[in-house]
Symmetry: C2
Subunit: 321 residues, 2 copies
C-alpha cells in the first residue's frame, strides 16, 4: 500500500505547515512549520510556500500521488483560486492550485477552505475516525464545525451546514461579529473569551492582568491559565463559557445523536478546564430523558487538523480514499 | 402503476384513521376517521380497528399490496408489538402487526411509532417531497422532528436524532416535562402554550377566559384565537412562543442548512399567527451573515401526516418505494 506519498499544505495566517505521509500512514514522514508573517506581504508568503513545497517534494521517499491544500480564507467555486484571507490583506486572487501544479507536473492537486477540510481531517486521521456519524466542533478565533457521515461532511443546501458557531445559545445575548446576538461564537470563541476578560479585568485585581502584561495580550489561554491558578474572575468567565458551550453541545447532540463529538481548535488547549463542566451540563440535560451521552472529546490532532485535512484532500485528489 | 392499493392505519389516542390509496396516488381513494375513546378500554378500540380494517380491505378497488400502521405509543424493537401508549392506559403489549396480518393473509404489514413515520409521510406526500434535505418539525402535545435525506430519516446512534423539542432555547428557563429546563418543548408545545396561559390569566381580564370557559379548557388554539382577536395577554404569549420557536428554527437551519423546513402538528393550525414572527427572527439572524433562509412552511397534510406516514410504511413493506 505504501508505494506512494501524499503532500499536505496548510496555508494559515499565522503559520504555513507542510506534511508528507506514506500511503495510509497516520503519522508524518516529514512535517515542517514556518511562520506566515503576513506583514511582509503576499509575495514573500507565496515564495515561502513554493520553496517549502519544492523541499518537501524532494524529500518524499516515494512518488507523490496527490497534493492537498487547506487555505485559510475564502476559496472560489472551482476550488483552485484563493480569493481572500480576512486576516491576511493582500493575499487575494491567488491561483494556488495552478502554482503548486507547476512544481509537480502530473500530480493531482486539490484545495479547499481550511475549516471545511478540518472535519474531514479529523474523520480520517483523528478521534472521529471509524465512526458512522461524528460531529467536529472547532473553537479558535471563531467557532465552526462539521457533521460527518462515514467521514463525509454534510454540505447542506448552500454549503453552510454545521455553522454551530451561530447557534443562538443566549437569547438577546452578546453581540456577535456576524451582526446577530447570542451566538455560541459570541461567547465561547477564543476571541470572545479574551474580549470578555478584557471588559472585566479593567481596574480589577486579577491574575489575568499579571499573566498578560497588557490588556491587548489577553488571550483565551491567559484566562484559562488564570482560572486554573484559582483566580476568581477568570474562574467566573470559564464557568460562563463552559455553561454556554454545554448548551451548544447539548443542542447539537439532541439534534443529531452522533456517535462521537470531537472538539478542536486552539481553545481546546484549555480543554482540561473548559470541557468537564460543559460535559456535566450535557449529561444532566440528556440523561433525565434516558438518552445516552456520546463521547465528547478534545481532538488529539487539533494543532495539525487542517494539515491532516489537506492530506485527506490529497488522497481524494489521487483517487485513493 | 396503479394496479394495486395501499392501506394505512393510524392508531392514535384520540382518533383512529384509515386510508386507502391507489398506487402512487397522493390523494385518498377512501379515508375514515373514528374516535378512539380510550375510556371504553383497549378491547373496544382494538375491535374498532379490526372492523374498520376489514371494511377498508373490502372497499379496496385493487389488491392491497401493503399495510402500514402508525402507532401512537412505544413500539418494540421487532416493530410488531405496540408496547404502550402513554395516553391510553390498558393498550399494552398488543401484537398489532399479527392482528392485522390475520385479516389480510399474505399482505406484508409494517408498523412504527407515529412520530417516527410522520416525517417520512411528510417527505413522501407533503411539502418536503422531492427535497434532498428536509427538516420536519411537529408541534403538538410535545415537539418532535425528523431530518430527512432524500426522504429517509436520520436515525442517529441511538435512534434519537431530531429531538428538537429538547433543544435548550432558554438557558435556565422553564421546567420541561423531560426533567431539564429551557427546552423548546417547555415553551412552544401545545401543552406548554396552554399552561403558560393558565398561569397568567388567573384573575386577569382576558379573552382567553371567555373563549375557554374554564382554565382547564384553555388550549394553544384558544390562546392563538384570542391573540388574533387582539387580546393583549394572548398576544404577549404568542410573541414569546414565536420568539423561542424562531430561535429553535434558526438553530436547526444554522446546523443543518436544509432545503426546506416543514412544520406540522396541531399547533400549526395557528401557523398564521405563530409562524410569521418566528420566521422574521430567523431571517434577521441568518441574513446578517449572508446565509439564505430556506422555505419555512406549515404542512398541508398535517392533520393526516401520521396516516400518510403509515402509507409510506405500507409502500416500503410492499417493496414499492
Amino acid at each position: 500500500m505504501r508505494t506512494y506519498c501524499f503532500l499536505g499544505i496548510d496555508v494559515g495566517n499565522t503559520k504555513l505547515a507542510f506534511g508528507l505521509v506514506e500511503g495510509d500512514a497516520r503519522a508524518f514522514h516529514e512535517k515542517r512549520v514556518i511562520a506566515t508573517e503576513p506583514h511582509l506581504g503576499a509575495e514573500q508568503a507565496l515564495e515561502k510556500i513554493i520553496v517549502q513545497t519544492c523541499n518537501m517534494l524532494e524529500m518524499a521517499p516515494k512518488p507523490v500521488a496527490g497534493i492537498g491544500i487547506a487555505f485559510g480564507g475564502f476559496v472560489d467555486v472551482t476550488r483552485t483560486v484563493g480569493l481572500a484571507s480576512p486576516n491576511f490583506p493582500g493575499l487575494e486572487n491567488v491561483p494556488m492550485v495552478e502554482m503548486i501544479r507547476e512544481l509537480a507536473p502530473g500530480v493531482p492537486v486539490s484545495m479547499d477552505n481550511d475549516a471545511n477540510v478540518a472535519g474531514v481531517g479529523e474523520a480520517m486521521y483523528g478521534k472521529a475516525r471509524g465512526h458512522r456519524e461524528a460531529v467536529y466542533l472547532t473553537i479558535s478565533t471563531g467557532i465552526g464545525g462539521a457533521v460527518l457521515f462515514d467521514g463525509k461532511p454534510l454540505a447542506g443546501s448552500q454549503g453552510l451546514a454545521a455553522e454551530f458557531g451561530h447557534m443562538i445559545v443566549q437569547p438577546n445575548g452578546r453581540q456577535c461579529t456576524c451582526g446577530s446576538r447570542g451566538c455560541l461564537e459570541a461567547i465561547a470563541s477564543g476571541t470572545s473569551i479574551a474580549r470578555m476578560a478584557r471588559e472585566r479585568v479593567r481596574g480589577r485585581d486579577s491574575l489575568i492582568n499579571n499573566l498578560a502584561g497588557t490588556p491587548d495580550d489577553i488571550t483565551a489561554g491567559t484566562v484559562c491559565k488564570a482560572a486554573q491558578a484559582g483566580d476568581e474572575l477568570a474562574k467566573a468567565i470559564v464557568q460562563e463559557v463552559a455553561f454556554y458551550l454545554g448548551i451548544g453541545l447539548a443542542n447539537i447532540i439532541s439534534g443529531l445523536d452522533p456517535d462521537i463529538v470531537v472538539l478542536g481548535g486552539g481553545v481546546m488547549n484549555s480543554a482540561d478546564i473548559l470541557l468537564p463542566p460543559a460535559i456535566q451540563l450535557v449529561e444532566r440535560h440528556l440523561t433525565v430523558r434516558g438518552a445516552k451521552v456520546p463521547p465528547i472529546e478534545a481532538s488529539d490532532i487539533h494543532d495539525d487538523v487542517a494539515l491532516w485535512g489537506a492530506m485527506a484532500l490529497a488522497r481524494a485528489a489521487a483517487g485513493k480514499r
